[in-house]
């Protein structure tokens, strides 16, 4: 059974399932990484609940369920981390 929802995201690149109700989508916008947190509790009506930006182009990403940290490695060799649950409280949060 497949349920598809149009999220309207720009240049989505990768997806990661972090829980039964949350999905992270990694995007590339204007040369920088961007992450969207998507609520999939209603599979036929998934919604983007928050977005967050990394100021540099990314090279690799990794997430962990506990303590719900997101790690972005940039092409310049620097790392940016963020708390997945912080993203839900505000949009356009920069990873620091």
């Amino acid at each position: 059974m497949t349920k598809t929802t149009a999220l309207g995201l720009t240049m989505p690149l990768q997806v990661a399932v972090v829980s039964s109700t949350r999905v992270l989508v990694l995007m590339s916008q204007e040369g920088a990484a961007s992450v969207a947190l998507v609520d999939i509790s209603a599979p036929d009506d998934a919604k983007t609940v928050a977005t967050s930006k990394c100021p540099q182009p990314f090279l690799h990403w990794h997430y962990s369920h506990d303590p719900a940290r997101l790690l972005l490695e940039t092409a310049e060799g620097s790392f940016f981390t963020g708390n997945i649950y912080n993203i839900t409280r505000g949009s356009n949060r920069v990873f620091l």
């Binding site: 598809t4 929802t5 149009a6 399932v17 829980s19």
Partner: protein, 223 residues
């Protein structure tokens, strides 16, 4: 000095690219019923395989160009007005691994001469640099219920095989899932959920049920 000439191929089109490894020459061919093929020739001019580009009955395909990367393992097909497809081959099957639909017409495209997995695409608005990497889409969850599912992207079809239950060799698969647009990336959830990111910006959620366990029955018929 002329070495060889191929037989006449009807509706052969303008794209022409010699694979850097030297064994194939790629071009495209129009066929009836809105079919459009990428065709290959050997160095002696003989036909050597082909594959069809995905098309719809209403929208005809217009191929701009084809080009292999420097390592000869990725074939880029540029479609008008703003689509780039990346194809790879394995086991004599061509897979549409990625499709990128830009928001402006593609004006130029070029593979990096030194880094074989780097692709430059210029549109009327932006310059895009793609760094490509091969990635195995496997379910690595630490769970007894993990059926060791591996997915293979083939355009708008996701080829899925739970290797803990069925050992199906590629290019075949245990089962396939059709999506409304080419698949870009796949992730697995903790409870049999498969999330497929599509090239049109959509998210497809696939609930995989009743495939983890197969029951077999032996009936003895009394005669």
């Amino acid at each position: 000095m002329l070495q060889s000439t191929s037989e006449t191929v009807a509706m052969l089109e303008h794209p022409l690219h010699w694979r850097p490894s030297g064994n194939l020459i790629a071009s495209t061919q129009q066929l009836p019923n809105n079919r459009h093929d990428v065709v290959f020739f050997e160095r002696n001019g003989l036909r050597h395989g082909e594959f069809s580009l995905p098309s719809t009955a209403t929208t005809p395909i217009q191929v701009v160009d084809v080009a292999f990367n420097a390592a000869s393992n990725i074939l880029m097909v540029v479609l008008a007005p703003a689509t780039v497809q990346l194809w790879t081959t394995a086991n004599y099957h061509w897979y549409l691994k990625q499709q990128v639909d830009f928001d402006a017409p593609v004006s130029a495209f070029h593979w990096d001469a030194e880094v074989a997995t780097r692709l430059y695409v210029a549109t009327d608005n932006d310059l895009h640099t793609f760094n490509l990497a091969m990635h195995v889409l496997a379910n690595t969850a630490i769970s007894e219920a993990n059926p060791a599912t591996v997915s293979v992207i083939d355009g708008a079809t996701l080829l899925v095989t739970p290797f803990a239950l069925r050992n199906v060799p590629p290019p075949m698969s245990a089962y396939s899932i059709r999506t409304e647009a080419p698949v870009r990336h796949v992730a697995y959830g903790p409870t049999g959920l498969v999330a497929a990111l599509l090239s049109n910006g959509s998210l497809a959620l696939i609930e995989v049920q009743n495939i983890l366990y197969f029951n077999s029955y032996l009936f003895q018929l009394g005669l």
